[in-house]
């Protein structure tokens, strides 16, 4: 059966039954007519009726055929194959990888170094230039009836036209001005956007060209995403687009719970992108050899180190090449918008595929704290720079309070051990800087600073401490309270929760006996605390067993985020205060040893920490920049100044005494500044690349086949794609001959109906 380019019109075939229906509808039983003699009629009728019946049948058949063929013609059937000389119309989707790994030097131009795309240069001599050249070759083959759609799939994915266009010049313009993206490749999102456009096209040929460097880690992620998508589909029975599946896969890999991660193995061998059979996919690599590359993976500032007392910069450098790296210099300079000055440097040597942390002692610190770290040039310049802002490592400060009384019959030696280990496993404070302290610290507000205060099984607090906590929360700080053996519900109701929230504790409920326990079940699935967990309604967060909990009652200002089985509140939020109604010290449950604990405590603490401070630690490209500032610290409208000096608006969401400032999504690495209406700099941010993209290893053919399927056609990096493409487009549409047949049949029908034939 030939493919139909306009399937919707096939429903018109039903209309072919209309003549038959009309015939049946109009068919009435013949009336009896008495007549003197049918002598003549008999002779006339015997030969005529047969002819008339034949004519009527032919007319009916012709009418059915005419309508049917017309509907078929409208549905545009087509035949494909090399035996056809004619060329069918084509819709071409060009998916061009403009992720920053394409900044690598064009391997066909040996010796050239790429031009730094971030500084506004063109992409001649880079793989991106080569990719655009290949895309133009595809556009050169467009005929009059062909249309094309473009997509650039370095994050954020850009699809300039939502409908295929036949204007090749317009497409060329878009192609040539497409910039290098500072994000990683996201082919799934691009296919999500382009596939419906291509599917809806009414052309004989539908083709997708993926022009990319096909990095190994990208394809591995896509393959994992496909596997995860298969597992998700098995679990939920619903289709998910590639983009969301990718996200799910990343989260699922990192945080897979021992009980909910069972689906991860079920999709082995699942194809990455399941494209319809009528869409051909061509894989066009821009290079086929691995390029050695050294990437500045991450940088951070340590104010306590350094020989000169100005602190030090710690830079993590990764060698993705199979050759050792020697005598490379890592240099720190002030990134103050032009007047760069050296702040310090350090030498570097790396083994093949090695990684090292380099320490640069700073001779001075720029006034705004913005520092650019540079690595010596190599074939991919884009990842040789990283940025940081001193004064804020980006890590959240967590004050973990324990103690406040004796623990009757406690089995744990350190109440906060699990929480502290989960929040800062290396002790270097990369994500959360955890300060453990006893309750007494809270009595002096000048003695501590924090974004979040965690009260972990705290027995008693002084009145002053509770008052300070209330003030801390009023300034935007977050409080997480977990319960335990030390907690006296009545005391908490009167002295702690009664002053800080509308929550009150009731009885301690213990489930004694083998096999008797409760489970932790989120109820507000969309809450940030549970984002990233693949949970459906009524599903447990983990298989952990909670044997002892504290019953509580919530007031009007609070809301329950999770339940214990039995519909008792498990996690309650009330205006910056979060109460977990069991312990997080291993005494009352085994939650702290489950895989879900780490993402849960990270999400909960991160959520509470966002109530204060800003995100001035190094951030990845593609996210908005946010800061919480006091209302007095800025005036008028705030704008965001990007690394190129361009301005973009900043949204301001005021609260009681503070305001939450939020920029648009960042698109480039570098130093970003929030500047208020008076020209005063109110916040500075460092935005860096995702270092993973620096690994320029190319995926094997097997991996590519696994991701794109066996139907994908591989083109060599240096091969022009003309001949293959044209051969693939052989074919013919049948609507014209069908319409001619309809016209001929109409004439025959007309003659027959007027009695010119078969009389």
């Amino acid at each position: 059966m030939p493919p139909f380019l306009n399937n919707a019109f096939l429903i018109g075939l039903v209309a072919a039954a209309l003549p038959i229906l009309i015939h049946l509808f109009n068919r009435r039983p013949a009336q009896q007519v008495v007549f003197p003699s049918i002598e003549y009629l008999r002779e006339i009728t015997l030969k005529r009726v047969r002819r008339v019946r034949l004519r009527e049948f032919l007319l009916l058949a012709l009418r059915v055929l005419i309508i049917g063929l017309f509907a078929l013609a409208m549905a545009r059937p087509a035949i494909q194959g090399a035996s056809r000389v004619a060329r069918g119309s084509s819709t071409v989707a060009i998916l061009l990888d403009n992720s920053w790994s394409l900044n690598a030097a064009d391997p066909t131009r040996s010796g050239d170094l790429p031009i730094d795309a971030s500084s506004g240069g063109n992409d001649d001599g880079t793989c991106l230039g080569l990719a655009k050249q290949r895309a133009e070759e595809v556009l050169d083959l467009m005929g009059e009836e062909d249309k094309a759609v473009l997509a650039f799939f370095g994050r954020p994915v850009v699809v300039p036209f939502q409908t295929p266009t036949a204007n090749a010049n317009l497409l060329r313009q878009e192609l040539r001005k497409a910039p290098l993206s500072a994000g990683r490749a996201d082919l799934g999102a691009a296919i999500d956007q382009v596939l419906p456009i291509v599917r809806a096209a009414h052309t004989l040929n539908k083709e997708i060209f993926v022009i990319s460097d096909f990095q190994q880690q990208d394809l591995e992620e896509w393959a994992n995403a496909a596997r995860e998508r298969g597992a998700v589909a098995l679990r939920s029975g619903e289709h998910r687009p590639f983009g969301s599946a990718l996200g799910a896969a990343v989260i699922g890999t990192a945080w897979a719970d021992s009980t909910t991660g069972e689906g991860a193995a079920t999709g082995e061998g699942t194809r990455g992108f399941e494209l319809p059979d009528d869409i051909r996919i061509y894989l066009v690599p821009v290079r086929e050899t691995k390029v050695s590359n050294v990437t500045l993976q991450s940088v951070r500032y340590d104010a306590t180190g350094g020989a000169s007392g100005h602190g030090r910069v710690l830079a993590t450098v990764v060698n993705h090449g199979e050759e050792p790296v020697t005598e490379r210099i890592v240099r720190a300079v002030a990134a103050d918008g032009g007047s760069s000055s050296d702040l310090g440097d350090a030498g570097l040597s790396l083994p093949p595929l090695g990684q090292s942390e380099v320490e640069i002692s700073l001779a001075s610190v720029p006034a705004d704290g913005a520092i650019e770290v540079r690595l010596g040039a190599d074939l991919c310049e884009y990842d040789n720079r990283a940025y940081l802002v001193t004064g804020n490592s980006g890590a959240r400060k967590v004050l973990l309070i324990t103690g406040g009384g004796e623990v009757p019959g406690s089995t744990s030696s350190d109440d906060g051990l699990f929480i502290r280990t989960a929040l800062d496993p290396t002790g270097r404070g990369e994500i959360f800087q955890v300060q453990s302290a006893r309750t007494e610290i809270l009595t002096d507000p000048a003695g501590w600073t924090a974004d979040v205060v965690i009260l972990a099984n705290v027995g008693r607090l002084s009145e002053q401490a509770v008052e300070n906590l209330g003030r801390f929360r009023g300034q935007g700080g977050g409080i997480l309270i977990t319960l335990g053996q030390r907690v006296d519900p009545r005391y908490y109701n009167t002295e702690v929760l009664g002053k800080l929230s509308s929550i009150s504790l009731l009885n301690i409920l213990a489930d004694e006996g083998e096999g008797t326990y409760r489970s932790f079940r989120p109820t507000v699935l969309g809450h940030p605390v549970f984002s990233g967990f693949q949970l459906g309604p009524g599903q447990d967060l983990s298989s952990s067993r909670f044997r002892k909990i504290v019953e509580c009652r919530i007031g009007s200002g609070a809301r329950v985020l999770a339940d214990w089985s039995g519909s008792l509140p498990a996690l309650v939020e009330d205006n910056g205060l979060m109460l977990f109604t069991s312990s997080l010290d291993g005494d009352w449950n085994d939650f702290v040893t489950s895989a879900s604990f780490l993402p849960f405590i990270h999400q909960a603490t991160g959520y509470l920490a966002h109530r204060t401070g800003d995100d001035r630690g190094p951030q990845a490209v593609g996210s908005p920049l946010e800061a919480t500032l006091s209302l007095e610290s800025f005036q008028g409208q705030v704008t965001c100044v990007d690394p190129t000096g361009g301005n973009s608006p900043v949204s301001i969401a005021p609260t009681d005494r503070t305001a939450r400032l939020r920029s648009e999504r960042t698109t480039l690495p570098g130093i970003y500044r929030f500047v208020d209406g008076a020209g005063k700099r109110v916040a500075t941010f460092a935005v860096n690349l995702d270092g993973k993209e620096g690994n320029l290893a190319i995926a094997s053919k097997e991996l590519q086949t696994r991701v794109f399927g066996r139907g994908a056609q591989f083109l060599a990096a240096g091969q022009r794609i003309t001949r293959e493409l044209l051969e693939g487009r052989y074919g013919q549409e049948l609507w014209r001959p069908l319409l001619i047949a309809v016209l001929i049949l109409l004439v025959v029908e007309s003659l027959l109906a007027r009695g010119k034939l078969l009389t």
């Binding site: 013949a30 008495v34 049918i38």
Partner: protein
Amino acid sequence: MSQKSGASGAQRSGKGGERAFLDPAVVGKLQRLDLIARLVAEGFLTGLHKSPYHGFSVEFAEHRQYMPGDPIRFVDWKLYAKSDRYYIKEYEEETNLRAYILLDTSSSMLFQSDPEGLSKLRYSVSLAAAMAYLMIQQQDAVGLLTFSDKIHKLVPARSTGPHLRVLFREMELEARRSLQEKEEEPRGTRIGRSLDFLADRIHRRGLVIILSDFWDQNDAEVVRALKHFRHRRHEVVVFHIQDPAEAEFPYKEEGIFVDLETGEKLNVLPWEAAKEYRKRMDERIAFYKRAAAENNISYERVLTRTTYDLALLRYLEKRQRLH
């Protein structure tokens, strides 16, 4: 519609009430055949410029009152002198004309396309009755033969007044038949045999009037039988009685046509058959006309909507030829 056509019939005659009874639509409303016969005949006579009643008897029998149109020479002037009234001398019966009316009573004669009109049989009976009335009025002997595919009744020719009632009774018996009353057995048509039957039985030269729709399987046989009469020197008047629908075939919708004589049914597409049917019908009429002309037979095609005077005139012409 009947009223309209009746009115138009009266208007056509232009002679007032009596002439209205020449219209079949008017006559169709009357039941008594004797009344129909008299009204039709009188209406017809009113239109004539001279009386047909003269010169056919020599022995005086009685006087009768002068009727408009009677020749003045038959007026008994002596009696006028005595009574001051015009009387015509009438004479003893001495008929020199014997007429036979052959009435086709086959089932096809029951056909009637217009519910307000007359069936062919009723039309024929009315016409036959009027002619019989006229004949008896002028002392002619009239006989009646009813037939279909067989002979049903033969009433020998007589010229007396009571004989007219006999004829009327026989005719009325036939006229009462209708399509609504189911026939015990459908009657076919075999004209030739009936004509031969009668031709063999009447030896004296006379007038033979045939009223039939001539739906006979064998037209040549019919013509041969007509020639049989001519061979015996009879004058023959043929009235080919037809319903307008039968002649014109005005049907538009597909139907199952039922043959009145055989009961046979046939699915007919009128739009396909009409043209050919009319052609064949015209050919048949032409055939009979030609045959009649060749044999000096008076042939008249009469539709059941035709006024009676036309047919009666044809009879009168033929009768005068006999004298």
